[in-house]
Symmetry: C2
Subunit: 109 residues, 2 copies
């Protein structure tokens, strides 16, 4: 399984509408990707490594897919529309990373 | 629920032993944290946003806890020992971020 992590840097002047992200943007991704997307997670940045340090990323999502091929087959045909929706919740472009999922959920082993 | 994301930057010259990370370091964290840790996930960086770009992070783990208080109660008493174990698998110090979990697993809703 692979994970596509989409991470919005917490830069000075960053705008990020967490409600839109949760209620509109991720459901839009899910509806476009269909069965190619197994599930997603959403994180809201609270702090860095110490309680008073700022988080590295203001918001993140992680898209879980069976394979890189299934991710691309589901996402790429809608990439333009999905990328254009970013302006509706943020003035930042995300850092994107593709990872191999080594452990999905340690409590399930 | 909160998520502590521990992310190792993919810098030039980075050393990262994925086997040690999976088989020793994360089980050590779990054994020390006990019930304060609900579960963890592990990611291995494959690529950036395009197939030929490098991943931002060479490896990551995400620690899921009921609250920030429960995380600190489980982790802090063992922080020194756990931090010292990093040298056994990497020459990098991680970026740490604490997030509020907005959606844990969209397929469960």
């Amino acid at each position: 399984m692979i994970k596509v992590s989409v991470m919005y840097p917490n830069k000075s002047g960053v705008r990020f509408d967490h409600d839109y992200y949760r209620n509109k943007h991720l459901p839009l991704i899910a509806s476009k990707m269909g069965a190619a997307l197994k599930y997603y997670t959403i994180d809201k940045g609270l702090a860095g490594g110490t309680p008073t340090s700022p988080p590295e990323f203001v918001g993140m999502c992680h898209l879980l897919c069976d394979s890189l091929a299934s991710y691309h087959s589901g996402f790429d045909p809608h990439a333009k529309e999905l990328d254009e929706d970013i302006r509706n919740f943020s003035n930042q472009m995300p850092v994107v990373q593709i990872s191999e999922v080594i452990v999905e959920n340690s409590s399930k082993r």
